[in-house]
Amino acid sequence: MRIAISTGGRDLDKFVDDRFGRCPYFMLCDSEDPKSTAEYKDNPALSATGGAGIAAGEFMAKEKVEVLITGSLGPNALRVIEAGNIPAYAASESMTLLEAIFAWKEGQLVRISEAGVAHAGER
Protein backbone atom coordinates (compact mmCIF):
# COMPACT_ATOMS: atom_id res chain seq x y z
CA MET A 1 0.00 0.00 0.00
CA ARG A 2 1.27 3.49 -0.82
CA ILE A 3 1.20 5.34 2.47
CA ALA A 4 1.71 9.04 3.25
CA ILE A 5 2.54 10.59 6.63
CA SER A 6 2.72 14.29 7.47
CA THR A 7 6.09 15.07 9.09
CA GLY A 8 8.58 17.74 10.02
CA GLY A 9 11.69 15.68 9.22
CA ARG A 10 13.18 13.65 6.44
CA ASP A 11 13.90 10.40 8.24
CA LEU A 12 11.85 7.42 9.45
CA ASP A 13 13.05 8.18 12.99
CA LYS A 14 11.56 11.68 12.83
CA PHE A 15 8.14 12.41 14.23
CA VAL A 16 4.66 12.66 12.83
CA ASP A 17 3.49 16.27 12.34
CA ASP A 18 -0.12 16.54 13.49
CA ARG A 19 -0.82 19.32 10.97
CA PHE A 20 -1.98 18.10 7.58
CA GLY A 21 -2.18 21.20 5.35
CA ARG A 22 0.74 22.97 7.04
CA CYS A 23 3.24 20.16 7.64
CA PRO A 24 6.67 20.79 6.05
CA TYR A 25 6.97 17.38 4.34
CA PHE A 26 5.11 14.24 3.43
CA MET A 27 6.89 10.90 3.76
CA LEU A 28 5.66 8.54 1.05
CA CYS A 29 6.50 4.82 1.03
CA ASP A 30 5.32 1.29 0.39
CA SER A 31 3.95 0.10 3.71
CA GLU A 32 5.52 -3.33 3.16
CA ASP A 33 9.04 -1.95 2.92
CA PRO A 34 9.29 1.57 4.37
CA LYS A 35 13.06 1.54 4.81
CA SER A 36 13.99 1.10 1.18
CA THR A 37 11.01 2.88 -0.40
CA ALA A 38 10.64 6.02 1.78
CA GLU A 39 10.78 9.30 -0.11
CA TYR A 40 10.18 12.80 1.24
CA LYS A 41 8.32 15.46 -0.66
CA ASP A 42 7.83 19.11 0.21
CA ASN A 43 4.25 19.90 1.08
CA PRO A 44 3.20 22.12 -1.85
CA ALA A 45 0.47 23.68 0.33
CA LEU A 46 2.82 24.86 3.08
CA SER A 47 3.00 28.45 1.90
CA ALA A 48 -0.57 28.71 0.59
CA THR A 49 -2.38 31.83 1.80
CA GLY A 50 -5.52 29.78 2.30
CA GLY A 51 -7.02 26.42 1.47
CA ALA A 52 -3.86 24.56 2.49
CA GLY A 53 -5.77 21.44 3.53
CA ILE A 54 -7.51 21.34 0.15
CA ALA A 55 -4.25 21.69 -1.76
CA ALA A 56 -2.51 19.07 0.39
CA GLY A 57 -5.47 16.72 -0.10
CA GLU A 58 -5.28 17.19 -3.85
CA PHE A 59 -1.54 16.45 -3.66
CA MET A 60 -2.33 13.14 -1.90
CA ALA A 61 -4.65 12.17 -4.75
CA LYS A 62 -2.05 13.15 -7.37
CA GLU A 63 0.56 11.06 -5.57
CA LYS A 64 -1.87 8.11 -5.66
CA VAL A 65 -1.70 7.72 -1.89
CA GLU A 66 -3.78 4.79 -0.61
CA VAL A 67 -3.49 5.43 3.13
CA LEU A 68 -2.90 8.74 4.93
CA ILE A 69 -1.57 9.10 8.47
CA THR A 70 -1.73 12.56 10.05
CA GLY A 71 -2.94 14.33 13.22
CA SER A 72 -6.34 15.59 12.18
CA LEU A 73 -8.13 16.91 9.10
CA GLY A 74 -10.09 20.15 8.89
CA PRO A 75 -13.54 20.12 7.24
CA ASN A 76 -12.29 21.06 3.76
CA ALA A 77 -9.34 18.67 3.83
CA LEU A 78 -11.62 15.84 4.95
CA ARG A 79 -13.99 16.54 2.04
CA VAL A 80 -11.09 16.25 -0.43
CA ILE A 81 -9.60 13.14 1.19
CA GLU A 82 -13.02 11.43 1.25
CA ALA A 83 -13.68 12.38 -2.38
CA GLY A 84 -10.35 10.76 -3.21
CA ASN A 85 -11.35 7.61 -1.31
CA ILE A 86 -8.19 7.79 0.78
CA PRO A 87 -8.65 6.33 4.26
CA ALA A 88 -7.01 8.60 6.85
CA TYR A 89 -5.78 7.60 10.30
CA ALA A 90 -4.85 9.70 13.31
CA ALA A 91 -1.41 9.40 14.88
CA SER A 92 0.08 11.46 17.69
CA GLU A 93 3.15 13.68 17.38
CA SER A 94 5.01 11.48 19.87
CA MET A 95 5.25 8.71 17.25
CA THR A 96 8.12 8.36 14.82
CA LEU A 97 7.20 7.66 11.21
CA LEU A 98 8.28 4.05 11.57
CA GLU A 99 6.26 3.59 14.78
CA ALA A 100 3.22 5.12 13.09
CA ILE A 101 3.47 2.70 10.16
CA PHE A 102 3.71 -0.27 12.54
CA ALA A 103 0.83 1.03 14.66
CA TRP A 104 -1.32 1.36 11.53
CA LYS A 105 -0.40 -2.18 10.43
CA GLU A 106 -1.37 -3.52 13.85
CA GLY A 107 -4.72 -1.75 13.58
CA GLN A 108 -3.94 0.56 16.49
CA LEU A 109 -4.65 3.85 14.72
CA VAL A 110 -8.14 5.30 14.70
CA ARG A 111 -9.74 6.14 11.37
CA ILE A 112 -10.44 9.88 10.91
CA SER A 113 -14.14 10.11 10.14
CA GLU A 114 -14.95 13.54 11.56
CA ALA A 115 -13.42 16.88 10.77
CA GLY A 116 -11.25 18.56 13.35
CA VAL A 117 -11.02 22.30 13.86
CA ALA A 118 -10.54 24.41 10.72
CA HIS A 119 -7.23 26.35 10.51
CA ALA A 120 -5.77 24.21 13.33
CA GLY A 121 -2.41 24.02 11.55
CA GLU A 122 -1.91 27.78 11.28
CA ARG A 123 0.44 28.22 14.19
Binding site: G50, G51, I54, E58, A61, V80
Partner: protein, 291 residues
Protein backbone atom coordinates in the same frame (compact mmCIF):
# COMPACT_ATOMS: atom_id res chain seq x y z
CA UNK B 1 -14.63 67.16 -0.29
CA UNK B 2 -14.04 63.58 0.75
CA UNK B 3 -12.84 62.88 4.27
CA UNK B 4 -11.65 59.48 5.43
CA UNK B 5 -11.90 58.88 9.16
CA UNK B 6 -9.58 56.11 10.30
CA UNK B 7 -7.56 55.14 13.33
CA UNK B 8 -5.28 52.15 13.22
CA UNK B 9 -6.41 51.06 16.68
CA UNK B 10 -10.05 50.10 17.15
CA UNK B 11 -12.24 51.88 19.67
CA UNK B 12 -10.53 55.27 19.49
CA UNK B 13 -13.68 57.06 18.35
CA UNK B 14 -13.79 56.92 14.54
CA UNK B 15 -17.54 56.57 14.45
CA UNK B 16 -18.10 59.23 17.12
CA UNK B 17 -16.00 61.69 15.10
CA UNK B 18 -17.44 60.68 11.69
CA UNK B 19 -21.11 60.72 12.74
CA UNK B 20 -20.94 64.00 14.66
CA UNK B 21 -18.94 65.77 11.94
CA UNK B 22 -21.52 64.67 9.37
CA UNK B 23 -24.39 65.88 11.57
CA UNK B 24 -22.72 69.23 12.22
CA UNK B 25 -22.07 69.91 8.50
CA UNK B 26 -25.47 68.75 7.28
CA UNK B 27 -27.40 72.02 7.93
CA UNK B 28 -24.98 74.02 5.72
CA UNK B 29 -23.74 71.53 3.13
CA UNK B 30 -24.97 68.47 1.34
CA UNK B 31 -23.44 65.76 3.48
CA UNK B 32 -23.08 62.03 3.01
CA UNK B 33 -21.98 59.57 5.66
CA UNK B 34 -20.63 56.20 4.48
CA UNK B 35 -19.81 53.38 6.90
CA UNK B 36 -17.01 51.31 5.34
CA UNK B 37 -16.43 49.24 8.48
CA UNK B 38 -18.44 46.44 6.87
CA UNK B 39 -17.38 43.79 9.39
CA UNK B 40 -18.96 45.75 12.21
CA UNK B 41 -20.73 48.86 10.97
CA UNK B 42 -22.10 50.89 13.86
CA UNK B 43 -22.67 54.41 12.55
CA UNK B 44 -26.35 53.70 11.90
CA UNK B 45 -26.85 53.05 15.63
CA UNK B 46 -26.26 56.76 16.19
CA UNK B 47 -27.69 58.15 12.95
CA UNK B 48 -30.80 55.91 12.86
CA UNK B 49 -31.55 56.74 9.22
CA UNK B 50 -34.81 55.90 7.54
CA UNK B 51 -33.66 53.10 5.19
CA UNK B 52 -35.05 53.62 1.68
CA UNK B 53 -33.09 51.01 -0.26
CA UNK B 54 -31.10 47.83 0.30
CA UNK B 55 -28.86 46.30 -2.38
CA UNK B 56 -27.38 42.81 -2.26
CA UNK B 57 -23.65 42.47 -2.93
CA UNK B 58 -22.87 39.12 -4.49
CA UNK B 59 -19.74 37.36 -5.64
CA UNK B 60 -19.44 34.89 -8.52
CA UNK B 61 -18.05 31.40 -7.93
CA UNK B 62 -17.53 28.51 -10.33
CA UNK B 63 -19.97 25.72 -11.05
CA UNK B 64 -18.51 22.92 -13.14
CA UNK B 65 -20.70 21.60 -15.95
CA UNK B 66 -20.78 18.23 -17.74
CA UNK B 67 -18.17 18.95 -20.42
CA UNK B 68 -15.36 18.97 -17.82
CA UNK B 69 -12.48 16.64 -18.73
CA UNK B 70 -10.89 16.74 -15.23
CA UNK B 71 -7.70 18.24 -16.71
CA UNK B 72 -7.03 20.13 -13.45
CA UNK B 73 -6.08 23.49 -15.04
CA UNK B 74 -8.70 25.35 -12.97
CA UNK B 75 -7.39 23.95 -9.72
CA UNK B 76 -3.77 24.69 -10.67
CA UNK B 77 -4.63 28.28 -11.52
CA UNK B 78 -6.63 29.02 -8.36
CA UNK B 79 -4.46 30.84 -5.82
CA UNK B 80 -7.06 30.34 -3.10
CA UNK B 81 -7.53 26.59 -3.56
CA UNK B 82 -11.24 27.02 -4.03
CA UNK B 83 -11.18 24.09 -6.48
CA UNK B 84 -9.82 20.56 -6.13
CA UNK B 85 -9.82 17.87 -8.79
CA UNK B 86 -9.96 14.57 -6.98
CA UNK B 87 -11.66 11.20 -7.27
CA UNK B 88 -13.04 11.86 -10.75
CA UNK B 89 -14.77 15.10 -9.82
CA UNK B 90 -14.12 18.80 -9.25
CA UNK B 91 -14.86 19.92 -5.71
CA UNK B 92 -15.74 23.60 -5.32
CA UNK B 93 -15.31 25.54 -2.06
CA UNK B 94 -17.36 28.71 -2.58
CA UNK B 95 -16.32 30.32 0.71
CA UNK B 96 -12.67 30.32 -0.41
CA UNK B 97 -13.43 31.75 -3.86
CA UNK B 98 -12.52 35.42 -4.40
CA UNK B 99 -14.58 35.61 -7.58
CA UNK B 100 -11.64 36.46 -9.86
CA UNK B 101 -12.85 34.26 -12.74
CA UNK B 102 -9.41 32.80 -13.55
CA UNK B 103 -10.76 29.21 -13.51
CA UNK B 104 -13.15 30.10 -16.32
CA UNK B 105 -10.40 31.76 -18.36
CA UNK B 106 -7.97 28.84 -18.14
CA UNK B 107 -10.58 26.11 -18.75
CA UNK B 108 -9.91 24.80 -22.29
CA UNK B 109 -13.39 23.32 -22.82
CA UNK B 110 -15.76 25.90 -21.28
CA UNK B 111 -16.75 23.73 -18.32
CA UNK B 112 -16.85 26.60 -15.80
CA UNK B 113 -20.18 28.37 -15.33
CA UNK B 114 -20.48 31.28 -12.94
CA UNK B 115 -23.10 31.36 -10.24
CA UNK B 116 -23.47 33.96 -7.53
CA UNK B 117 -23.65 33.89 -3.79
CA UNK B 118 -24.70 36.79 -1.57
CA UNK B 119 -21.78 38.26 0.36
CA UNK B 120 -23.40 41.22 2.05
CA UNK B 121 -25.59 44.23 1.49
CA UNK B 122 -25.59 47.98 1.13
CA UNK B 123 -28.20 50.01 3.01
CA UNK B 124 -29.12 53.54 1.98
CA UNK B 125 -31.13 56.07 3.94
CA UNK B 126 -31.36 59.60 5.26
CA UNK B 127 -31.37 61.30 8.65
CA UNK B 128 -31.54 65.04 9.46
CA UNK B 129 -30.29 65.92 5.99
CA UNK B 130 -27.39 63.43 6.14
CA UNK B 131 -27.43 60.87 3.34
CA UNK B 132 -26.41 57.58 4.93
CA UNK B 133 -24.83 54.52 3.39
CA UNK B 134 -23.46 51.41 5.08
CA UNK B 135 -21.96 48.16 3.89
CA UNK B 136 -22.72 45.01 5.85
CA UNK B 137 -20.69 41.85 5.38
CA UNK B 138 -22.70 38.68 5.94
CA UNK B 139 -21.91 36.85 9.15
CA UNK B 140 -19.36 34.09 8.64
CA UNK B 141 -17.92 35.67 5.48
CA UNK B 142 -14.34 36.88 5.40
CA UNK B 143 -14.17 38.84 2.14
CA UNK B 144 -14.80 42.46 3.05
CA UNK B 145 -13.17 43.74 -0.16
CA UNK B 146 -16.03 43.17 -2.61
CA UNK B 147 -18.57 44.78 -0.26
CA UNK B 148 -16.29 47.79 0.24
CA UNK B 149 -15.72 48.15 -3.53
CA UNK B 150 -19.46 47.98 -4.23
CA UNK B 151 -20.10 50.59 -1.56
CA UNK B 152 -17.40 52.80 -3.07
CA UNK B 153 -19.03 52.52 -6.53
CA UNK B 154 -22.40 53.38 -5.01
CA UNK B 155 -20.85 56.40 -3.25
CA UNK B 156 -19.38 57.62 -6.57
CA UNK B 157 -22.63 57.14 -8.50
CA UNK B 158 -24.46 59.03 -5.84
CA UNK B 159 -22.12 61.95 -5.33
CA UNK B 160 -21.03 62.74 -8.90
CA UNK B 161 -22.83 66.00 -9.40
CA UNK B 162 -22.47 68.33 -6.42
CA UNK B 163 -19.82 69.92 -4.25
CA UNK B 164 -20.62 68.07 -1.09
CA UNK B 165 -19.01 66.57 1.95
CA UNK B 166 -18.47 62.84 2.07
CA UNK B 167 -17.46 61.40 5.41
CA UNK B 168 -16.06 57.88 5.04
CA UNK B 169 -16.03 55.99 8.33
CA UNK B 170 -13.20 53.50 7.64
CA UNK B 171 -12.44 50.14 9.27
CA UNK B 172 -9.77 49.91 11.98
CA UNK B 173 -6.32 48.53 11.17
CA UNK B 174 -4.18 49.22 8.12
CA UNK B 175 -5.22 46.42 5.74
CA UNK B 176 -6.64 46.41 2.20
CA UNK B 177 -10.07 47.28 3.64
CA UNK B 178 -8.69 50.56 5.00
CA UNK B 179 -6.82 51.34 1.78
CA UNK B 180 -9.90 50.76 -0.40
CA UNK B 181 -12.02 52.92 1.91
CA UNK B 182 -9.55 55.79 2.26
CA UNK B 183 -7.86 56.16 -1.14
CA UNK B 184 -8.77 59.20 -3.18
CA UNK B 185 -9.78 61.28 -0.13
CA UNK B 186 -8.93 64.96 0.18
CA UNK B 187 -7.97 64.50 3.80
CA UNK B 188 -7.58 61.53 6.12
CA UNK B 189 -8.50 62.15 9.74
CA UNK B 190 -6.58 59.82 12.04
CA UNK B 191 -8.50 59.48 15.28
CA UNK B 192 -6.26 58.42 18.14
CA UNK B 193 -6.22 58.18 21.92
CA UNK B 194 -3.45 58.93 24.43
CA UNK B 195 -2.53 55.33 25.24
CA UNK B 196 0.55 53.36 24.21
CA UNK B 197 -1.65 51.15 22.04
CA UNK B 198 -3.22 54.22 20.48
CA UNK B 199 0.19 55.70 19.70
CA UNK B 200 1.58 52.40 18.40
CA UNK B 201 -1.26 51.96 15.92
CA UNK B 202 -1.27 55.67 15.05
CA UNK B 203 2.34 55.28 13.90
CA UNK B 204 1.29 52.42 11.61
CA UNK B 205 -1.60 54.48 10.23
CA UNK B 206 0.79 57.41 9.61
CA UNK B 207 3.14 55.13 7.68
CA UNK B 208 0.20 53.93 5.61
CA UNK B 209 -0.89 57.52 4.82
CA UNK B 210 2.64 58.45 3.74
CA UNK B 211 2.89 55.30 1.63
CA UNK B 212 -0.43 56.15 -0.02
CA UNK B 213 0.47 59.81 -0.44
CA UNK B 214 -2.68 60.92 1.35
CA UNK B 215 -2.99 64.27 3.13
CA UNK B 216 -3.74 63.63 6.79
CA UNK B 217 -4.15 65.13 10.24
CA UNK B 218 -4.83 63.83 13.73
CA UNK B 219 -7.75 64.19 16.10
CA UNK B 220 -6.91 63.23 19.66
CA UNK B 221 -9.94 61.69 21.36
CA UNK B 222 -10.19 61.01 25.10
CA UNK B 223 -7.58 63.72 25.56
CA UNK B 224 -6.21 63.62 29.13
CA UNK B 225 -4.01 66.67 28.66
CA UNK B 226 -0.89 64.48 28.55
CA UNK B 227 2.03 64.87 26.15
CA UNK B 228 2.08 61.37 24.55
CA UNK B 229 0.33 62.12 21.24
CA UNK B 230 1.30 65.80 21.09
CA UNK B 231 5.02 65.08 21.37
CA UNK B 232 4.87 62.44 18.65
CA UNK B 233 2.94 64.73 16.31
CA UNK B 234 5.35 67.63 16.93
CA UNK B 235 8.35 65.40 16.23
CA UNK B 236 6.80 64.11 13.02
CA UNK B 237 5.42 67.46 11.90
CA UNK B 238 1.84 66.16 11.92
CA UNK B 239 -1.05 68.60 12.23
CA UNK B 240 -3.38 68.02 15.19
CA UNK B 241 -6.78 69.08 13.88
CA UNK B 242 -8.37 69.08 17.32
CA UNK B 243 -8.80 67.38 20.66
CA UNK B 244 -11.87 65.84 22.22
CA UNK B 245 -11.55 65.70 26.01
CA UNK B 246 -11.81 62.56 28.09
CA UNK B 247 -15.25 63.15 29.53
CA UNK B 248 -17.73 60.82 31.19
CA UNK B 249 -20.67 62.74 29.74
CA UNK B 250 -19.52 61.88 26.22
CA UNK B 251 -19.29 58.22 27.24
CA UNK B 252 -22.82 58.37 28.69
CA UNK B 253 -24.31 59.93 25.55
CA UNK B 254 -22.44 57.41 23.39
CA UNK B 255 -23.64 54.45 25.44
CA UNK B 256 -27.24 55.56 24.87
CA UNK B 257 -26.61 55.50 21.13
CA UNK B 258 -27.15 59.25 20.80
CA UNK B 259 -25.26 61.91 18.89
CA UNK B 260 -23.33 64.64 20.68
CA UNK B 261 -25.11 67.36 18.68
CA UNK B 262 -27.96 67.71 21.20
CA UNK B 263 -25.59 69.05 23.83
CA UNK B 264 -24.54 72.65 22.97
CA UNK B 265 -21.09 72.25 24.50
CA UNK B 266 -20.22 69.32 22.25
CA UNK B 267 -22.07 70.69 19.26
CA UNK B 268 -19.83 73.74 19.55
CA UNK B 269 -16.72 71.57 19.79
CA UNK B 270 -17.63 69.70 16.61
CA UNK B 271 -18.52 72.93 14.82
CA UNK B 272 -15.02 74.24 15.59
CA UNK B 273 -13.52 70.92 14.52
CA UNK B 274 -15.57 70.93 11.30
CA UNK B 275 -14.49 74.49 10.42
CA UNK B 276 -10.87 73.62 11.10
CA UNK B 277 -11.06 70.61 8.80
CA UNK B 278 -12.62 72.62 5.97
CA UNK B 279 -9.90 75.27 6.33
CA UNK B 280 -7.22 72.61 6.38
CA UNK B 281 -8.51 70.98 3.19
CA UNK B 282 -8.74 74.37 1.42
CA UNK B 283 -5.22 75.33 2.48
CA UNK B 284 -3.74 72.06 1.35
CA UNK B 285 -5.60 72.26 -1.97
CA UNK B 286 -4.16 75.75 -2.59
CA UNK B 287 -0.70 74.60 -1.59
CA UNK B 288 -1.01 71.56 -3.87
CA UNK B 289 -2.18 73.85 -6.69
CA UNK B 290 0.86 76.10 -6.37
CA UNK B 291 3.29 73.17 -6.12
Amino acid sequence: MRLAVLSGKGGTGKTTVAVNLALCWAPQRKTTYVDYDVEEPNGFIFLRPQIRNTLTVSLPYPKINGVCTLCGKCSEACQYHALAVVGGQVLVFPELCHGCGTCGIVCPVGAVDEVKRPLGEIDEGERDGVQCFQGVLKEGESLAGPVIRSLRRREKEYSLQVEEVIVADCPPGSSCSVIHSAEGSDLAILVTEPTLFGLHDLKIAVRLMREMGLEFGVIQNKDDGGPLIREYCTQEGIVILGDIPFDLEIARIYSRGQSLMHEPKWAHLFKTLGDRIVTEVDQRRTRGGIA
